[in-house]
């Protein structure tokens, strides 16, 4: 019986494994998660540098098989777009391996379904990416492509969390048996708020509304700008969303810090979320002040993804640690 399980007075998870068993799959899932984050960054670069249509054909690249496209021709906008395609193919391959590995290496049936969902999502994401090229970046498809990327990121994070030895051993129950904590629901609401904000951000980027309000902190010289166009509305909705997200994150952090500051599994992601929020707000302002300069704009996209991932991780852990389940076995969620 592991020390944590013993300390918490819990029965071991029926999926209890040795320290070594399953670590490979977990590490592979972590690697896939890291590659996905990098892929989101490169995808952001493609949009920031307006390179999305620098390779006009898909799945070929200027008629070449995309994997044999000569390195010497990776110039200008092609460099960003083709790198994104190659990296996306790599993440797709990693997801295939992850799915097969989970299918044969996991006893939990729902884990197999989860990895199958990740594989389906990455395939759909690839098709959407192709459609953005073939249909010349239509806003709805480009926005959907951006939003699905974030959903896929959460899926691989979930796989990484659920395959971790700590999770399998059984995350200790740290809640109260007498009352139901509202922290998990708050974390879930915060994650949802961040995701909605990312949708608004993607909509703003793919409708070219990023500078519809060119000043900050004021908006067209006012606190509430005159809504003269849809672009202004979308842009302002993103700013309002930022206020909501900031409130939710601060509220979540305060709740976690007040009650669970000694439980690093909860406190650490809550603290990370706060730090990322600070960075994200500065990057958002810099994006406007620099008239959508490539680096801050793309970093804003990446930090948004990391913020979503951290909020999602905190949500998973809070549900596991603060919600009472029959058998007290959190690892068997």
């Amino acid at each position: 019986m592991s020390r944590e399980v013993a300390d918490a007075g819990l029965r071991p998870s029926p999926f209890a494994v040795s320290e070594a068993e399953g670590v490979g799959l977990h590490r592979f899932a972590l690697f896939t998660t890291a590659c996905t984050a990098f892929l989101i960054f490169v995808g952001g670069l493609v949009t920031s540098t307006e390179s999305g249509l620098s390779v006009p054909d898909w799945p070929t690249t200027y008629g070449w098989n995309m994997f044999t496209f000569p390195l010497s021709k990776w110039v200008g906008g092609i460099f960003y777009e083709h790198t994104h395609r190659i990296l996306a193919s790599f993440v797709g391959f990693l997801t295939i391996v992850l799915t097969v590995w989970t299918y044969f290496g996991e006893k939990r049936v729902w884990m197999r379904w989860l990895s199958a969902a990740a594989l389906s999502t990455v395939i759909l994401q690839g098709v959407l990416g192709g459609m953005t090229v073939l249909f010349l970046l239509p806003s709805p498809i480009s926005t959907l492509h951006a939003c699905l990327a974030q959903a896929f990121f959460c899926l691989v994070i979930a796989i990484a969390v659920f395959t971790s030895p700590r999770w399998k051993r059984g995350v200790p129950f740290t809640g109260s048996y007498n009352e139901t904590s509202s922290v998990p629901a708050l974390c879930a609401a915060t994650t949802a708020a961040v995701y909605v904000e990312l949708i608004l951000g993607a909509l703003m980027r793919h409708t070219a509304a990023g500078l519809a309000i060119p000043d900050f902190p004021l908006a067209l010289g006012h606190i509430i700008p005159p809504f003269t166009s849809n672009k202004v509305i979308i842009h302002f909705a993103h700013r309002v969303g930022a206020v909501v997200v900031t409130t939710m994150i601060v509220w979540t952090f305060v709740r976690v810090a007040r009650s669970y500051s000694r439980h690093f599994l909860l406190f650490r992601p809550a603290l990370t979320m706060m730090a990322l929020l600070g960075i994200q707000l500065v990057l958002g302002a810099t994006t406007v002040w620099s008239a959508k300069s490539t680096i801050p704009t793309t970093a804003h996209v990446l930090t948004g993804a990391l913020l979503l991932g951290t909020a999602f991780l905190l949500t998973l852990r809070s549900y596991a640690m603060l919600t009472r389940k029959p058998g007290n076995c959190r690892g068997a969620l």
């Binding site: 070929t60 008629g63 098989n65 110039v75």
Partner: protein, 266 residues
């Protein structure tokens, strides 16, 4: 079990690789050619009746704003030719006259007139620049897009009234041909590989249009009538004037732009 996993992985990898495969060829498709053929319906307008001349100068008042410097380091081929075109061609002023202004008859022409479609017109990609930077053409007139560079270009027409297209030209001397079915001014063309490469086309359903040349001069041959003449510039926008011309008449129409005028580029 691991053998089985390995086999499944290998199969999926093969599927993924095949999905990413093309023909291995270095040729691209020709761009779409929307719309029909030559102007249809009724007798074709006799161009000898366009015997009146509207000419003039597009003046520029004040100091012309400097063009943006071009950073070509993203493509070594272009970077080697950067000295030939160090800046964009947005504002080109010579002898006080503004070049690259599209001048055209915007109203006053007989409705329903049919005009002969001229021969093909060409835009060339040379030294990582479009030549010409601004030009006019007629609807359904063939447009040949040539790549004279030893690097790849994509021709991306940002049309609003006509269908957009985006075609790659990876090979030197490759020529693609297209045409536009509907009038559109301006119809921007750009290369997404090389951000600085941009051109503007004026597409008309009549032949009474031109582009200002060195010194801002222009000349239009039109049939007798009362016309609205429009001048459009990519940075300074649009100006219009009325003119009335008779048989073999010659009228002067002068436009003036300044740095305070705003157009599509701002």
């Amino acid at each position: 079990m691991y053998k089985r996993s390995l086999t499944v992985c290998a199969c999926l990898l093969v599927v993924a690789l095949v999905a990413g495969c093309g023909g291995g060829s270095n040729e691209t498709n020709v761009p779409p050619a929307p719309g029909g053929g030559a102007a249809a319906g009724g007798a074709t307008f006799d161009m000898s009746k366009a015997n009146a001349t509207v000419s003039g100068k597009i003046s520029f008042e004040g100091t012309p704003p400097p063009n943006d410097k071009i950073q070509m380091s993203a493509d070594p081929y272009c970077a080697q030719r950067a000295a030939q075109n160090p800046t964009t061609e947005t504002v080109k002023v010579s002898d006080g006259g503004l070049e690259n202004v599209i001048i055209f008859v915007s109203s006053g022409l007989a409705a329903g007139a049919a005009y002969a479609t001229p021969a093909a017109i060409e835009i060339n990609q040379e030294n990582c620049h479009y030549i010409p930077h601004v030009f006019t053409m007629m609807t359904n007139q063939p447009l040949k897009v040539k790549n004279s560079d030893m690097t790849l270009h994509n021709i991306h027409a940002w049309a609003e009234k006509n269908p957009q297209f985006n075609v790659g030209q990876p090979v030197k001397d490759m020529v693609s041909e297209t045409k536009f079915a509907k009038p559109e001014v301006p119809l921007p063309v750009r290369c997404d590989v090389h951000k600085w490469m941009g051109a503007f086309i004026g597409v008309f359903d009549h032949p009474f249009h031109t582009v200002s040349k060195s010194g801002g001069s222009f000349e239009l041959k039109v049939p007798p009538g009362n016309y609205e003449i429009t001048a459009w510039h990519e940075k300074f926008g649009t100006k219009t004037m009325m003119v009335q011309v008779g048989d073999n008449d010659k009228k002067e129409v002068n436009f003036s732009f300044s740095a305070n005028d705003k157009g599509t580029a701002d």
